[in-house]
Symmetry: D2
């Protein structure tokens, strides 16, 4: 198994050496006082990264999908109405989960490549005079299409409609990579995982609950035990878990928060933007287009790149892996075969990004696309040279 | 944080060096063909360790608790009737989970320290002419009390009653440490985790479903998504997961199975029995008693030791940690304050066990118990000397 | 400290994950039988990599410099005459060492950028009728200039002159990266280290002694203890060392040999040639020249690239480190300030090499050199695309 | 290969987790400024641990044996006279090295088990009116016999004799474990290694030179290159090495110094004394005797234990390894077969020590010695209980 090249999937990301070492911890008694010295700073760190003063943070041995389930099962009752937009595979899956749990989802079908239409949300919420909609879902960053949605606009839509619904945001591929403001945007539940902006191995669902969401948990009757936040909160009060926690990953989470906060969140976001801009410059130089339909919704954590009609984008991903040992992301769902994705989040430098761009060029040339070798690299180099933030100081 | 001494909690266990290194893996694309080369051998290895020819194995980024939830939500409908014995904290918790999910549990209250009364199960099952009981729960090894129950006897009870209920077994602290025979005992769902007999960090729920249990999943309506085995099975068919798997832990699981099978399961069990017998010899030498009421139900993975009346066993655990840096298990639930526990499962040698026994002696003496220093050590030494299986060949 | 980018120094190299883990070993008693199970296969592996049937291998806790000292102090007497060519910093240093130890070195001054002049060696050896020259030194690969010399030609020079001098070869930056044939070329002592072709951390001097060199050790009187091969040989006979060995590094050496031999030495050499050819294609595309004066002496482990007159090549190395976090090699000695070096040995893929080439382009542009961004990358891509040996199968 | 049990050899020691991780570093360019940020604090840390204000510290990729060679070759000329006592295998080896390098050693033969006779040194030095003796050697802690010598007394001997000889001290198994005062004792060269009190893997020779020793290096003519301190000093002035340094080990050394100084040297020494006292209590309880003839010379880093006449102590070490997977030290040289050794230095707790004591009891009983199982353990427990320094705070 070769681990020499960086990965360019949109998570799990490349991991900093220090975080791998933090996770690789000898056995520590999770009922000893030492555990609290890991747990509480980790929770506090996540809270800062969510930019929240009031959220309660819960971390489950699970994944972002488990975070979605945590959100809905702790706040809702069977038959409750939900509003959601479907604009990619991950928004689709959350909707599907809600339906499986007996919730009534009003789906706003949205082009894959577009952001969540806040104006449609506002119309629907305004029309919902009886406030039957209990929760509004929003996928902050659609990992499948590389599209960022405007959560502040959704909050404005709720406010304009005077609607009391809870706002749940999937920030799996945005939090800790792109700007996220839980309190300012009035987010009631934020969901993320360990393997994206936190640059850790997969294995943690990380959720933040606003006081309003906590209150909803008092009356929610959807069945839950593993993902029950009340059990978790009771445990935390004793520096413990209701079951065996993923101690090493929590230790890593604590250190990841420290690294990100030391770097400064705005610097973290700027770093992601800078790496992403280089990739996008390369895409333009290739004469290709992003799946994301306009610059204001370009994701800084992943770019989905449309390949020419008739070209099977899956072949790109396979050949890159087989011939060059480099992992890119495939297209999913509606855009399967039509896009390939370059993940550019987590522990990545401009130098690493250039190797991904160079590989993509070779693969496209190998597959007969009319790509000039070095063209995307040159465009990215030009951008990186002029926008250096001293990459050596990036997350180590 | 000191990691010098072994831990004597009943999981997470001490970890072999090789497994820590297997888990600490650089980022690997979980959608690449390489992932299948980890996943499938890991699943096949677990199946062998369960001694099953027919089970389907599912591994979730979760814990044993998530395994319990997987078992019930994939096979049952709200209101379904379940039979279970409560003889310790972990059987209690599974019962509690069932009730939270709207199941109707007939609880056989059993002394904490006794095994599951197979005869009572038989009576109840025989009386259930309408076969309303859909599932029988059994905790193979009660981690809270150090009590092993006879699963074969429960199977005989079901058969004697001619009852078609499914048999679900919690083998979290028995599987891969003590004899477990899924097919021979007619177990329909076996549940375990990564951090006990598999000697890995916590973070995996490992479950095996019999064909009969798989069939129940076709009609079960309890809501589930994260723990849905059909999604998981569909993923496995493509060497994939419905979400991001815990790749490093799966790599570790694959290697752990290899190590255990290379050692030979009977040798693994004999090794655990041997270490446990030394600990029990020490307990006898101290003049103390196990929580487990008779030798036939002594657990080979954990011993719960009753302290004299009036003695607060919690102080034992605290002082051992504070003064000697050694982690033992506390008493839980009904036996809180009345027992302390020595975990002796996973990667442990007689030499390590002796250090735990010696520490326990110091702590008891420090707390005023009438313990002769060295007495338990001598009893264990005597046993280990005469029953050496060349500990150097034990799991490395 | 950032470890995200690959290094492009000519050693220590990028390390495969598996070798790092092999080196990072818990404490093992170096006087236990287990140690022999590491030592002997490691020695046997090195012997195969040297392509020798007869050499005795010695591994010291030291570096290549210690290997040079081992070679001379174990075979020579004060005042002995030596023949050596000086064509770079490392040949210079070995000559200097000989002089410090009281040896009489006849130095063939050779342009830095040229290989060892075998014809001059032949003239001198032929003229040495009295066979006063005891040893001929040859630096197989001058790391400072990226120049490979023809050791077979030097052997032919010795043979043509009918001269019995011993032939000592510094293969520090060639062995395990480029073809080396100890027996076929009649090499009497081969010297290397752990941190180049073996892809390990620094800390080992690795030497091979021919039977003829072993015999010389019987009468050599230069003082030595730490580097005494007789003590070492006596130790090895008991699977031991005369002092505490670097156990982890030896474990890594054993595994490194296994990896290299599994890949196949000819494949290893072809891989290095391929990566090097891509780098050289980039250099040509930039319109720059190598320090090495002709293609037959191009090194496959390191390229020294001449920068235009008036340009301070040291600035290149500094800026690459500061601005992009990438390490290249500086010029040393006579070529200080005139060249920068790209190390392309050890655990490196074409994809990694492209990131180094791309970085070099940015740095040169930043420093005002007339370099077209992407030009070297394109040339290398073109080469790598057409000469893919499935890099994913390279040393992992 | 089993790494489950602690080792009880007198080095390499058990290693703290944090130091292993510090050593296991990705490749870092040793010519980059980052290297200086490791090197200089490491040198400063060693200086503090030597309790010197004026020493220059040099660290070689080598071992303590290389440190001995550094000491003599950098300060002496062939034929120079040296005074040394031989009271164990390691003092013997240093004497032997001096002789091989053409030095004239006046050997004070001393019983193995006794300390260096400072009074004999004084007589000889007083008699040496011409000050022909250039250097006095002293092995601070004879690892072979577990004997500590009184370096302050040797300094007094030199002073009483008014003799200007340099004082070289082998502190390989004392420094960082037992009190060592370079300046106060007037030590001119102190020699140690990485794998004892510094709790690191082997691979470093660590030496401190007083100003007087530095001056001697100006005129010393013994041949040397690898171990030349002037080259090393010149390198350090540029934050560099004359060859490739062991970067990971230096990183570990830096952290080890930090850990030791954070704990406080006096606490480190007290911890070693405490662990050693427990072991000695066990030896007394067994009715055995130490090789060291009186309590004032008992070593706190290793105990050599005499076995009864006719008993082959080597069998003890073999059986402990084979049957119990535990490494003890054998007897060396004159005491081979007569003693076994328990190393109790480095990263060790009382709990770990008890497992070693318990193992020793089992082995002795297995080999037919009249040992009461548990007796030594009880004696050590009794001591540790009453002298707890909160072992959990020991080096982690």
């Amino acid at each position: 198994m070769s681990f020499q090249n960086p990965v360019f999937i949109p998570g799990p990301t490349n991991m900093p050496e220090a975080l791998r070492k933090a996770v690789d911890m000898p056995t520590l008694d999770h009922r000893s006082p030492l555990f609290g010295q890991i747990l509480h700073p980790a929770l506090a760190g996540v809270k800062k990264i969510l930019k929240s003063e009031t959220a309660e943070i819960f971390v489950f041995p699970s994944t972002g999908t488990g975070g979605w389930e945590t959100a809905i099962t702790n706040t809702l009752n069977a038959g409750d109405k939900i509003l959601a937009a479907r604009n990619g595979m991950f928004s689709h899956r959350w909707i599907d989960m809600c339906q499986r749990h007996g919730l009534d989802v009003q789906v706003v079908e949205t082009p894959w490549g577009a952001g969540i239409p806040a104006d449609r949300y506002e119309e629907i919420l305004t029309a919902d005079k009886g406030h039957e909609i209990k929760v509004v879902l929003a996928t902050h960053n659609e990992t499948a299409t590389g599209v960022k949605s405007d959560i502040a606009a959704i909050r404005r839509a709720l406010d304009a409609a005077g609607h009391p619904a809870l706002l749940f945001v999937d920030g799996v591929s945005s939090i800790a990579s792109m700007d996220f403001r839980m309190d300012e945007w009035g987010v009631d539940i934020a969901v993320t995982g360990s393997q994206k902006g936190f640059m850790l191995p997969p294995g943690l669902a990380i959720v933040g609950f606003s006081p309003k969401a906590m209150k909803a948990a008092d009356t929610a009757t959807l069945p839950r035990t593993f993902f029950d936040i009340k059990d978790m909160a009771a445990g935390y009060a004793n520096s413990a878990y209701p079951y065996t926690p993923s101690i090493g990953l929590l230790n890593g989470l604590n250190m990841a928060c420290g690294m990100l906060l030391d770097e400064g969140l705005e610097n973290v976001f700027a770093r992601h933007h800078r790496i992403a801009e280089g990739v996008r410059a390369a895409v333009r130089a290739w004469g290709l287009e992003l799946c994301a339909v306009s610059p204001d919704i370009y994701s800084d954590s992943v770019s989905a790149i449309r390949t020419p009609d008739g070209f099977d984008a899956n072949k790109f991903v396979s050949l890159a892996a087989e011939k060059y040992g480099v992992a890119f992301g495939t297209g999913l769902g509606e855009v399967a075969g039509k896009v390939f994705r370059i993940g550019h989040l987590g522990s990545l430098t401009d130098v690493m990004a250039l190797s991904g761009i160079a590989t993509a060029e070779m693969v496209m040339a190998d597959l007969g696309l009319n790509i000039q070798l070095g063209s995307g690299v040159a465009a990215a180099q030009d951008y990186y040279r002029g926008n250096s933030a001293n990459s050596a100081k990036a997350a180590a």
